[in-house]
């Protein structure tokens, strides 16, 4: 039956995604995510040897912008302030 994620996996994912989750939601999420992952697992059936991954809907190359300054927005009122940072990224 459906794959179920471990509670620790759900919590780690939530941390990676910076989403606070209630302890009571962990089990539900584990089940829902497991079901979805289970459903998409069939992708592995497709023979994709030698197939270039399709990262964009249309094959095109990047247009380049000339290095000419454009308008700015007004400076941010009151700046950008966050709680003190401890440690690094």
């Amino acid at each position: 039956m459906a794959k179920v994620l471990a509670a620790d996996e759900v919590r780690a994912l939530a941390h990676l995604a910076r989403l606070e989750i209630e302890p009571r939601d962990v089990e539900r999420l584990a089940h829902e995510l497991g079901e979805i992952l289970d459903h998409v697992a069939c992708l592995g059936e497709v023979d994709t040897a030698g197939v270039e991954p399709m990262t964009h809907a249309v094959a095109m190359t990047l247009r380049l912008r000339d290095d000419v300054p454009g308008p700015c927005l007004p400076p941010l009122d009151g700046g950008v302030v966050v709680p003190a940072i401890i440690g690094g990224d």
């Binding site: 290095d67 966050v82 690094g88």
Partner: protein, 478 residues
């Protein structure tokens, strides 16, 4: 005790000299009011999309070509995800597994010898904003956010802190030569992280690597690496293992501390950026970057030594700045190759003193004018001492050397009889010194030369003067 060998790789972020940001037309400037160089893209506003700056590509290509890198004709931008207040979109646009340049090398002159430092890659990315910490809060300035960078990554080929420093110096010189970056270290245009490990001498496998971040200043690089190498050797000698970690260098106290360990190595969830199609470098763009390449500093240094016979230190100093080296080349072209060494000496010593810290571009004395002055000194028209005076007058007035010499009557007296007459007068006027000289204190010759110069206002060729003086002093019959 095991003998240990350090293995060092550097990752240097170089700010590209563009007018606008990498993926936004917002301007790049230093010292603007906080959070003023912003637009919807820089702020990461909903609905805003990136567009890529042509100049950033051209500058990166120039560096790629100058380092002999393989240019990937189709490279990709990827999103590198992490949450940090200085990163407005929650991801940095960078290049991941398909960077623009690979397998290049930087020519490095260290201790008078030319070597090469192999590069793993050079890739394009955008800078983050700047954080400042104020007690219970941190403030973000997004002016720097989105500024184009190249990250220049060496292979793990450096074997000492000195080698790392020499490489950095060479890279710094190279990017300024190429116009790739303004290279202003005070403004953080080059920022360095170091990967350091040690292994027993003779081993081929690499030791556990520690990443040193936050080496804010070039002057800390040597110190930070030496400190880290010593720290690792101390641990290994004590039988301990090296922890795979990232350490933050604190330049103020000369120590590093753990920033994060292996267990919380970030998962950046790289994603090919769906907003940015693959970056294709066409022939025309590549040819244009080729055409923009000047003679590279390491090659130029070699040429100055080989063609002009300059000593390493002079050649090194003169190639430190492209405008200075251009000045030298123009002055030598005007003075003739035979005068290359005195021209170099005049630029380094006398012109340098006159400029007093101003850049060569601000010199009121152009290369042809300096060549004229050096020519006048070297052909004996004036003495070196008078030459200095003439140079000062040139700086002040903007007039040519020979015009000043003639106007002020500075042409030195080369007439043998006239010089002999002055020498005889000086000897007659200083009997006590003559006695001492003849008693064996021959260093007094300089005194006599000085007296001759004084009597003639410096206009006598000092060589000629000393010849006459020596002759007269040697014959006590007078």
């Amino acid at each position: 005790m095991t003998a240990w060998e350090p293995v060092i790789g550097l990752e240097v972020h170089v700010q590209l000299a563009t007018a606008t940001k990498a993926f936004a037309p917002a301007p790049v400037a230093f010292g603007a009011p906080p959070n003023s160089l912003i637009d919807p893209i820089v702020l990461g506003l909903p609905g805003a999309l990136p567009t890529f700056n042509r100049a950033a590509l051209e500058l990166a290509l120039r560096l790629g070509l100058a380092t002999g890198s393989t240019i990937r004709r189709t490279s990709r931008f990827a999103r590198k995800h992490y949450f940090y207040p200085d990163l407005p979109k929650g991801y940095q646009i960078s290049q991941h597994d398909e960077p623009l340049c690979e397998h290049g090398a930087v020519d490095v002159w260290a201790a008078g010898a030319r070597t090469q430092v192999a590069l793993a890659r050079i890739h394009l990315e955008e800078d983050a904003g700047k954080l400042s910490h104020r007690g219970a809060t941190s403030e973000v300035d997004l002016n720097r956010a989105g500024v184009p960078l190249v990250e220049v990554v060496t292979a793990p080929v450096l074997r000492s802190a000195d080698a790392a420093f020499a490489y950095l110096k060479a890279l710094h010189r190279l990017v300024r030569y190429l116009g790739v970056s303004e290279g202003d270290l005070e403004k953080g245009h080059l920022r360095c992280d170091a990967n350091v490990s040690v292994r027993p001498v003779g081993a081929t496998a690499l030791g556990t690597r520690v990443e040193l971040k936050n080496i804010n200043s070039f002057k800390f690089v040597r110190q930070a690496i030496e400190h880290e190498v010593a720290r690792q050797i101390r641990i290994l000698d004590g039988g301990g293992p090296i922890a795979r970690e990232t350490r933050l260098w604190d330049g103020a106290v000369g120590r590093s501390e753990t920033m994060r360990g292996k267990e919380d190595v970030a998962d950046y969830r790289y994603l090919p950026d769906p907003d940015l199609p693959p970056l294709h470098v066409d022939d025309a763009t590549l040819a244009q970057a080729h055409a923009a390449l000047p003679e590279l500093p390491a090659a130029r240094l070699a040429r100055l030594m080989a063609d002009h016979g300059l000593p390493f230190d002079d050649a090194d100093q003169l190639t430190g700045d492209r405008a200075l080296a251009d000045y030298l080349d123009q002055a030598v072209a005007a003075a003739g190759p035979a005068l290359a060494r005195p021209v170099a000496a005049w630029i380094i010593n006398e012109l340098g003193r006159e400029l007093a810290g101003r850049s060569i571009g601000a010199s009121p004395v152009g290369p042809a004018a300096l060549a004229e002055l050096v020519g006048a000194v070297e052909d004996g028209t004036i003495s070196g001492t008078v030459g200095k005076e003439v140079l000062a007058a040139m700086v002040a007035s903007g007039d040519g050397a020979r015009a000043i010499i003639e106007a002020r009557g500075l042409r030195q007296i080369s007439d043998v009889d006239a010089v002999a007459a002055v020498a005889a007068q000086v000897i007659a006027a200083n009997p006590r010194q003559v006695e001492q000289y003849r008693a064996g204190k021959t260093t007094l010759l300089a005194f006599f030369v000085g007296q001759v110069m004084k009597a003639t206002g410096g206009k006598v060729n000092p060589k000629l003067a000393s010849e006459h003086l020596e002759r007269l002093l040697a014959s006590p019959g007078t």
